[in-house]
């Protein structure tokens, strides 16, 4: 990028328009979609117009159904995430720090990891029925592995030289962990976190469409039975938004926790 001395007002506008660029494509697609629907190119039975989806959303909001279902799905996602992520994080730390712990647990975990967790759905239904436990269990299982693997990897790959420095400067094991090992592992832990959030929604969607009596996935399946295409599309869009929200939260957290990392530092303006 060519950097020139710019009029400050102009550079503010330029920066704002740069930020808006990412929205240009989605807005363009939706506009084209609406236009094609109005023109009758896309049959309503295949894809309803965006305005029809918004109308469906409004109707379901008024009846309270939409918010209730979003809340149920959100709750399942969060609970499953904290259970699976918590266990994965703890085990990842333990196996990263202790060779003995790794010898005991790691190969078992790796074996289980190679089973696609969604393949367990029939078994999980047999165990838990279609109650909350089933969905939370699946989400927890899906989230566990990326958090586990990346936490362990992060702890393992902390700069040896820094650990040696810590020891040479008389840090106790606890201080060494909090001042050197944990912050050093954090970038890798965040990679696992963002990956886990993706798996969290994926698992929940599948679990809810197969076996549920509430939630967004259930709403979509019900709508399919009554041929309410607009509600089906709405459900998919809500999943997309929730996924984006989770990812943005993780990014924000990452930016805040890793502000020391060169990748997250604002570029130094040479002409400032």
């Amino acid at each position: 990028m060519v950097r020139r001395v710019m009029n400050p007002v102009f550079s503010v506008i330029a920066r704002q328009s740069e930020r808006l660029t990412q929205w240009a494509l989605p807005i363009g697609i939706i506009t084209a979609w609406e236009a094609l629907s109005l023109a009758g190119v896309i049959p309503l039975r295949v894809l309803p117009a965006p305005t029809a989806v918004i109308a469906a959303a409004w109707k379901l909001t008024l009846s309270g159904e939409l918010l209730r279902n979003i809340w149920v799905s959100f709750w399942r996602a969060i609970v499953g995430f904290f259970i699976g992520g918590g266990i994965g994080f703890a085990l990842g730390l333990a196996n990263g720090l202790s060779r003995r712990s790794e010898r005991i647990f790691d190969s078992t975990v790796q074996m289980i990891r190679n089973i696609p967790h969604l393949a367990l759905i029939p078994l999980v239904i047999l165990w838990f029925g279609i109650d909350e436990e089933a969905k939370i269990f699946l989400v927890a299982l899906g989230v566990f592995f990326p958090i586990y693997v990346n936490t362990q990897h992060g702890v393992r790959t902390v700069d040896e030289q820094l650990i040696e420095m810590g020891r040479a400067y008389g840090m106790s094991p606890t201080t060494l962990f909090w001042c050197v090992i944990f912050p050093g592992a954090l970038p890798s832990i965040f990679v696992g976190l963002r990956y886990a959030l993706g798996i969290m929604w994926l698992t929940l969607i599948v679990a809810e469409t197969i076996s549920a009596s509430s939630g967004i996935g259930y709403m979509a399946m019900q709508a399919r039975e009554f041929l309410l295409v607009d509600v089906v599309v709405l459900s998919i869009l809500i999943y997309a938004l929730l996924g984006k929200l989770a990812d943005s939260t993780a990014r924000l957290l990452e930016r805040w926790c890793l502000s020391w990392h060169p990748a997250f530092q604002p570029t130094i303006e040479t002409d400032a």
């Binding site: 030289q161 820094l162 040696e164 420095m165 810590g166 020891r167 040479a168 400067y169 008389g170 840090m171 001042c179 050197v180 912050p183 050093g184 954090l186 890793l258 502000s259 020391w260 990392h261 060169p262 530092q265 130094i268």
Partner: protein, 276 residues
């Protein structure tokens, strides 16, 4: 073996009286090394080092790569355990030095990238980090190396020389009595290096700690040290006093003469084609 080594030294340099000048410095801690040995498996890295470093003395250790000079520092810091022999700090019998009394500056800055410059200096305080005046002390030391205005910056935005200055501040903040340098200036460009050498000499003169600097650069050793030791194949083969007046001028005839003398000794036993 040691007797032979000593004889070789006496062949080479005139006998040096035990320095009494160093003892008077006061704040440093004398280091006595007795028959220190270290092997890694079959590989004998140090084969019985005997050495007395007076309190407040500045000793430079030169030698070819892999001669064991860095291992000596690591043993001193307690990062490795000796295979035999022991060392003594001051008059204390026993291996361990008082906490915070021995500090090291590594070849790399080894700053914590997630801690501010000031917090990195505070690392050097060890257990005293929780004390009330910790920040004040860190700040004062940072001022000493001329980086007070960078206190809140991340290490990643500093230049190589600035990072090493922060590392120096971290090493100095606990007011160590022995400071070990493991080629800390090796990765710096020539100009930064000279200004760092001046800084190291200045703080050493001010704080009177005992300094042990491992270096590849013989000129650096001659400019800074009271005494230059050469280690070859795990033994001390040269113990050269440098009695030049400070501040010493790089490239002055006296410095150059001593440098040439040590370099010749370094290369005398080197087979052709081996790197120094």
């Amino acid at each position: 073996m040691t007797v032979q080594a000593l004889r070789r030294i006496s062949d080479f340099v005139e006998p040096v009286p035990t320095p009494d000048r160093g003892e008077a410095r006061g704040d440093g801690l004398a280091v006595t090394i007795h028959q220190l040995r270290k092997s890694f498996g079959q590989n004998q890295v140090l084969r019985g080092i005997d050495l007395h470093i007076s309190a407040g003395e500045f000793v430079a250790v030169v030698g070819r790569s892999g001669c064991g000079k860095s291992t000596l520092l690591r043993l001193l810091l307690g990062l490795e355990r000796p295979s035999g022999g022991h060392f003594r700090f001051g008059d204390q019998v026993g291996r361990a030095a008082p906490t915070g009394a021995v500090r090291i500056m590594f070849q790399e800055p080894r700053l914590l990238p997630w801690a501010s410059v000031l917090a990195n200096v505070e690392v050097g305080l060890g257990d005293e980090r929780a004390s009330a005046n910790a920040q004040e002390r860190a700040l004062a030391t940072l001022r000493e190396v001329g980086l007070e205005d960078r206190r809140d910056h991340w290490p990643s935005v500093l230049s190589g020389g600035q990072k090493q200055r922060v590392a120096l501040a971290r090493a100095l903040v606990s007011r160590p009595q022995v400071l070990a340098f493991d080629e800390p200036l090796g990765a710096l460009d020539a100009l930064t290096r000279i200004s760092m050498q001046r800084l190291v000499e200045r703080v050493w003169a001010g704080q009177r700690f005992t300094a042990i600097m491992v270096t590849h650069d013989v000129a650096e050793a001659v400019t800074l040290a009271d005494r230059v030791l050469m280690i070859e194949q795990g033994e001390i083969t040269l113990d050269q006093r440098i009695d030049l007046r400070r501040p010493r001028e790089r490239g002055s005839p006296e410095v150059a003469a001593l440098e040439g003398r040590i370099l010749r000794a370094l290369f005398r036993n080197a087979a052709a084609g081996e790197d120094a």
